[in-house]
Amino acid sequence: MLRRSKPYGMPPRLFEMRLASPRNLFRRRAKTESLYLPLMPFGRLLSMRIAYCLLSALLFVAIAGAAFAQDATRETASLSGYVRDSASAETLLLANVRVEDALIGAATNNSGYYTVTGIPPGARAIVVSYIGYRTERVEVELAPGEQRRLDIELLPEEQGIEEITVTGEREELYEARKVGVQQLQTQLIKSLPALLQPDVFRSLQLLPGVKASSDYSSGLYIRGGGPDQTLILLDRTTIYNPSHFFGVFSTFNPDAIKDVRLYKGGFPAEYGGRLGSVLDIYNRDGNRREFDASLSLGLLSSRAIVEGPWSRGSYMLAMRRSTVEPILYFLREADTEGIPDAFYFLDVNGKFNFDVSNRDFVSLAFYAGQDVLDIEIVEDALANIRYGNRTLSVNWTHLFSQELFSNFTFTGSQYFSRPVINLAATPIENENTVDDLSVKGDFEYIPGGNMSAKAGFWSGFMSLRFRTDFNEETAIDWLTRSVYASAYVQTRWRPAPRVTIEGGVRGNYFEEGGFFRASPRLSFEYEPNPALRLQAAYGRYYQFLTLITSEIFSGFDTWLTTGEGVRPSYGNQAVVGMKHASPFGFNLDVEAYYRTMEHLFEWDPFIQDVGGLDYDELFRIGDGRAYGLETTVQRAEGRVNGFVAGTLSRTERRFPVVNDARFYPPKYDRTLDVKAVVNVELSPAWRASGVWVYATGQAYTEPSGQYRLVHSPFDSDWSNVLVTEYNNRRLPAYHRLDVGVSWRTRLFGADFELQAQVLNAYNRRNIWFYFFDFDGEPGVERTEIPQIPVPLPNLSLTFDF
């Protein structure tokens, strides 16, 4: 029998850890949905029927288009192959491949593979480009109906520092500039000034439409969505808690990463499962040419990576660990109180690739990361906290033919959080885990002509455990198991050379609650001229998961699912955009978006004990909306590169009880965001970088009144009461300048780089939040809790052998 009781006077967050006891959750979640299929609500049947109709229609269009295309391909030629880095043979994702002087081209896919069809026969020049690489021009002679395999290698610009020049011919990354998409260059992540260490999420927070909740959080708030509304994939595997140091850093080691792509909204049918956005990250394959190693020593963390060729493939192994122990040692020696016995994070990324043939490629990738904190808070109060992620994925890429590309992935992802706390002889042990096993398959069919299609599936089994032992008794033992499945089909149609229409539909099934939902997607693009692209996209999105988290501490993050009485969240997104490439090397991107968020199910913040509650009583159900305008001017290459991005936006939420059930701006809503990022190559050896961020102050609650209960028979702490409207004011505007400089040379036969950085360079005292204390005189005292309060230096050394 499950039992629970509660400690007295415990820190509130510890109570949150010990959430639900619903001893009968399993009983109420009996897997009997199939018995009730005939009784399914009419609406669900209707949505299934619509989905089937859409799927059938799209398949028909794809097949018919393919058949129609067969005639066209007899008269034209096609090219396909991989685009790689010439130095390491690493595949390049979303690289541009186009036929010179023709509106024909394609981008490499997530495996670095491209197919260009409909090429007029004869002598043609193929232009291949990628940011950070010299544009390659290949001349080919093609016969009618020829299908040629053409693998292309690009030379990195940094091969010779002295050779860096502003590329004469501007080649924008076509796919990376689709509506709602942003690609982040790994080199940019490493070069920007960073809080203690380079960080993927911190860099993403600099993009327009992406907000941070504070200087101390790497959480992503994208176009009005919270962190759980972004699907985070590492080598096609879901990551459930992407944080180190309890939210300060993300789990992704920039050394190991090849490609970071963010779909901020309006994403296509090949992605699903989240309401807002998708972050798709790929690890590097490893150098296929030669052994390479790099070591980076930072003040508070260090990184190492080895990579090289083996047999018919490559390997990569990257490791990162915090190195705060010397500081902790000196603090302990100085008798400073509250210094942890252990405090570190560690992560390892690995990838092994093997080319079975020139049509079959297999890779195995893994990630393992953990955070550890052992601390005696005060006497008789010990905390041992462990949390982390482990992933394993096996990927098989198979080329059925030049027209049909396929990719199959088996993924395993585990998130665990196991804090053990002993307060006043009262042990409290928690275990929060997510185990997710899945298989996914993607097919790309490019038959030629003006049609192409993608289809795929993703099916898996998810197990979520939440267990709490309090005072040596199991208070909660909550296990949710659910099968999930989704399938999609999407077609790309070019009715005219300058017009592209993409349509798709994704069907989603989630066993927990027995929900089936269909998500249509549609996008449109028109190129009036080669420099200008007008874009629009619409999509409906569903989410079956929700995250219990805290902005302050991510170590106890807990995922919950839909269930009895808790339907999935859903929302619509509409995006319109304009992309313009100027002749002087600048890109101008403008995007406007509007999105709705319906039936948001979030953990009810007023619940302090869930014993005996029904599942739907655990949540508050609300809705939200967000809209905004993002403008970016970017110079991607050259001695001076970077971008300036401005975002005007509004995000609102509405939940029962809070703010009298009226819309309010959540804390992360900011009306205006301006971000400027600049990198300057001062000389072959010296480089400088700077980041300046300005943002309207975040919403917060400024109480207007107060009262006291003077004769309460309960705890006196509950006698002081503030009277207020919710989030009725704004903090002072936020702004901060981070600067850095790096020096590169060769030392002891290795490339050497020294980076020196200062965050908050002009010592801006930004405010995180205000705390209102009833002990103040006179009245309630307001205390400022600052963001990074002082200029914060950082130093790192990198050796590349």
């Binding site: 029998m1 009781s5 509660k6 007295y8 006077g9 415990m10 509130p12 006891s21 001893r23 006497e379 307060l423 002889a425 009262t426 005072n471 420099a531 313009h580 100027s582 101008l588 979030e602 913040p605 007023f606 004990d609 014993g611 005996g612 305008l629 403008t631 959540p666 009306t671 205006l672 102050g697 919403a699 917060y700 609650t701 400024e702 109480p703 009144g705 107060q706 009262y707 006291r708 209960l709 003077v710 004769h711 028979p713 309960f714 006196s716 702490d717 509950w718 009461v721 503030l722 009277v723 207020t724 989030n727 009725n728 004011r729 704004r730 903090l731 995180w768 209102f772 006179p778 309630v780």
Partner: protein
């Protein structure tokens, strides 16, 4: 239009819009004075005092004497099953300036009945609130027992099954140190540095009845966690079964005061408390209570 003009237009429009909207003119709300009521009905005990006061601006010092509302018309009504008034008692203020009102005669609070508080304050309209009183319960064995801190199983107590209409019972469990002494604190609280008087009473957050095991006799086992104990020696454990008003007030005020945007809310997001008072603020709640004494000795092995 040449591209350069398009660029300039878009950028200029963005900058203008940014400047215009960057000044987020969301000012603080004007303070509006409201009536605050405070009254607690304990099952089986006489109706106690009801305090009537006013809210005040957040930056002003609180003085109960200044905030008290005198001259209010205060009454408590006993409601029937259909909301009809079965009985009504007018309250008066023995000391008019105090803002504290009581019945003229002793009126016992009936468990499982609903009471309404009606306050007409001069110039402030009518304030009402209703509460349904929890059922009575008691400790099965009231003998004073002695335990040694942090040895063996935690102390176990049995109470009769409480009842509240429409939902499970919800409790507050308070430990009151009857022999508090600075040399007598348990190790954790000794190191916590908290105020001596604050530690004397240690109260739990609201606990749902479903957490506790039922006994064969239909009662409920309360397993006492050592974290509730702040002082060795003689202690009193008081269990209060609370009504919806107290429950909502306590749990929402814990979020407002204890964490100020804690829980799953972002720091700085401060919700109002849930008070179930129409036309004003405050708390008119009820509870049933039972208590027991027990003694705890220090553990010589710790």
């Amino acid at each position: 239009m040449r591209p350069i003009f398009a660029w300039i237009s878009v950028l200029a429009a963005t900058v203008l819009a940014g400047v215009w909207s960057g000044c987020d003119a969301v000012g603080p709300p004007e303070f509006e004075e409201e009536i605050v009521v405070e009254g607690y009905l304990e099952a089986g005990k006489p109706i106690g005092y009801v305090t009537v006061s006013r809210t005040l601006p957040v930056n002003e010092a609180y003085d109960p004497a200044v905030q008290a509302v005198s001259g209010a018309s205060v009454r408590i009504e006993l409601l029937g099953a259909h909301g009809d008034v079965e009985a009504s008692w007018a309250l008066f203020a023995p000391e008019p300036a105090s803002g504290r009102y009581r019945t003229r005669e002793a009126v016992d609070v009936l468990p499982l009945r609903t009471y309404r508080l009606v306050v007409d304050a001069p110039g402030a309209g009518t304030v009402t609130s209703e509460t349904t009183v929890p059922a009575l319960f008691r400790f099965v064995d009231t003998e004073e027992r002695t335990f040694v801190y942090d040895t063996g199983e935690a102390p176990l107590f049995e109470i009769t099954e409480p009842f509240y209409p429409g939902r499970q019972s919800i409790f507050l469990i308070t430990t009151i140190a009857l022999e508090p002494d600075t040399a007598n604190t348990t190790p954790f609280y000794d190191a916590s540095g908290e105020d001596f008087f604050t530690l004397r009473e240690n109260v739990s957050p609201p606990l749902n009845g479903a957490n506790f095991d039922r006994t064969p006799s239909g009662g409920m086992h309360i397993r006492y966690p050592w974290i509730g104990l702040t002082f060795y020696g003689l202690n009193e454990m008081r269990i209060q079964a609370i009504d919806d008003n107290v429950f909502d007030f306590v749990r929402s005020n814990a979020v407002q005061q204890g964490d100020q945007g804690g829980s799953t809310l972002s720091p700085g997001e401060i919700p109002n408390v849930i008070d179930h008072v129409e036309g004003g603020r405050g708390l008119f709640g009820s509870f049933a209570s039972a208590s027991i004494r027990f003694r705890v000795l220090p553990n010589p092995d710790r």
